[in-house]
Amino acid sequence: MSSGLTLRIDLDSGVPAYRQIVDGLRILLVSGKLAPGSELPSVRRIAVDLGVHFNTVAEAYRTLAEEGWLELRHGRGATVVERDAPAANAEKVTEFRRRLRALVAEMQSQGASAAKLSVELRNAANELDL
């Protein structure tokens, strides 16, 4: 069961809803809050609750299924499955570094110090590390 957990998206943020759903669910999966065996609501239920198109949620579920997090059940939602973490390849690390630098630059342009961002990054990594 995954009772008490909530998926939250902000349609004003500029980030596509599909990306926010994938990111939000992945955080819960990586942190273990959504453990193997947990059942997720159907695509229809999530789409109605979020007020977004069915395809947006279906696409997000498919992406996470391709990453090995979910097993999809036709018309019934999805189940979280056991997943062996793959080794991070060089290409992924490079992509991560590029996105992180863009994010750090954005925050520094808004006045956040390097020390503050380091602490935030360390906290986020520790929080999600099982």
């Binding site: 995954s2 008490g4 998926l7 998206i9 159907s42 239920r45 109605v48 609750d49």
Partner: protein, 333 residues
């Protein structure tokens, strides 16, 4: 003639009273269906807009009553419908103009934060069997009682009364004549629960959803009372006016309870409705092609409206209208 005036003016006056209070029957932060600062309705501008709307609504009411009185002697068949239509359309235009003014001059933007609960849940969990089951059991118990006293039932008994309190339609002691009111009552109860169940499947988990399910369950009681009273009338003697009086008082009490529930300022929805005013056409009709929900909490009043951008909404709307008309058509037949 005096009776005609009463029956023309009274329903219009009742509708007009509801329209007078309509802008206040809403959640905090919504005024004339537009998103505003929660304190705006109490401001000088807010009070001015409300006064202006109420004046226009009162004028439309007077015009509608005058039309009804003109039509009543020559065209009594139009005397109720035409003024009612004029009243609804006129006040709707006034309301739309106020919505536009509030939205354009005083409207606020709320962040479009959406939430979805990740616990798998069923549509039936909002219902309470201990609340919806007793009305059906009561109808069944009365059916058994009538069966046990079949020989005491008169051969012919009244089933419909005119406004003067005199019976104008009769039934005979047959299966359909005796159990008809109970079956119609059970059918209406099932229909009411069916619509509530559909709403839980096709709407977000908001405070309105919880209130609507409870409201539907509570309304089964006055509806059941009317069917049960009509069914036992051939055996038990009581004043016929008791039925509409008990129904009106109990329905008013249930609706008042619902209004109290939605006006609680601390209500926090588990899965909030979309916030933008742009989804509301004329402040009254929800139109959001990206939203798969069919039922959406109304911005004014209690209950749900439909997402008119969704084709299924139109199918459901026609289905509900047909189901609602079915008992009327059966009775007329």
């Amino acid at each position: 003639m005096k009776l005609e005036i009463l029956f023309t003016a009274l329903p219009l006056a009742l509708v007009a009273i509801i329209f007078q209070f309509l802008p206040l029957l809403t959640r905090r932060g919504i005024f004339f269906s537009a998103t505003v600062d929660p304190e705006f309705p109490q401001s000088a501008d807010g009070r001015r807009l409300l006064r202006s709307y109420r004046l226009q609504a009162a004028l439309w009411t007077l015009i509608a009553i005058a039309l009804g009185l003109v039509l009543a002697p020559q065209h009594p068949e139009y005397a109720a419908l035409a003024p009612a239509l004029l009243l609804v359309m006129g006040i709707s235009v006034s309301y739309w103009l106020k919505f536009r003014e509030v939205h354009e001059r005083y409207g606020e933007h709320r962040p479009e934060i959406r939430r979805a609960e990740l616990s798998p849940r069923t549509s039936g969990e909002a219902f309470s069997a201990w609340l919806w089951l007793p009305p059906f059991l009561a109808l069944a118990a009365i059916g058994v009682y009538l069966q046990a006293h079949w020989n005491l039932l008169p051969e012919r008994f009244p089933v419909h009364w005119g406004v003067d309190g005199q019976p104008n339609r009769w039934a005979s002691r047959t299966w359909s004549g005796v159990y008809g009111p109970l079956l119609i009552g059970a059918g209406l109860n099932l229909f009411m629960l069916g619509v509530a169940w559909l709403v839980t499947r096709q709407s977000r988990k908001t405070a309105m959803q919880r209130i609507m399910v409870r409201l539907s369950e509570l309304l089964l009681y006055p509806m059941t009372f009317a069917s049960a009273a009509a069914a036992v009338l051939p055996l038990v003697s009581f004043p016929i006016w008791l039925i509409p009086v008990v129904m009106t008082v109990s329905i008013a009490a249930v609706i008042y309870w619902a209004y109290r529930q939605i006006s609680v300022p601390t209500v926090d929805d588990a899965t909030p409705e979309p916030q933008s005013d742009s989804y509301w056409r004329a402040g009254m009709f929800y139109y959001n092609p990206n939203d798969p929900a069919i039922f959406v909490s109304k911005r004014v009043g209690i209950g749900y409206t439909m997402n008119f951008a969704n084709k299924i909404s139109w199918v459901v709307l026609v289905g509900i209208l047909l189901m609602a008309l079915l008992p009327v058509l059966l009775i007329r037949k």
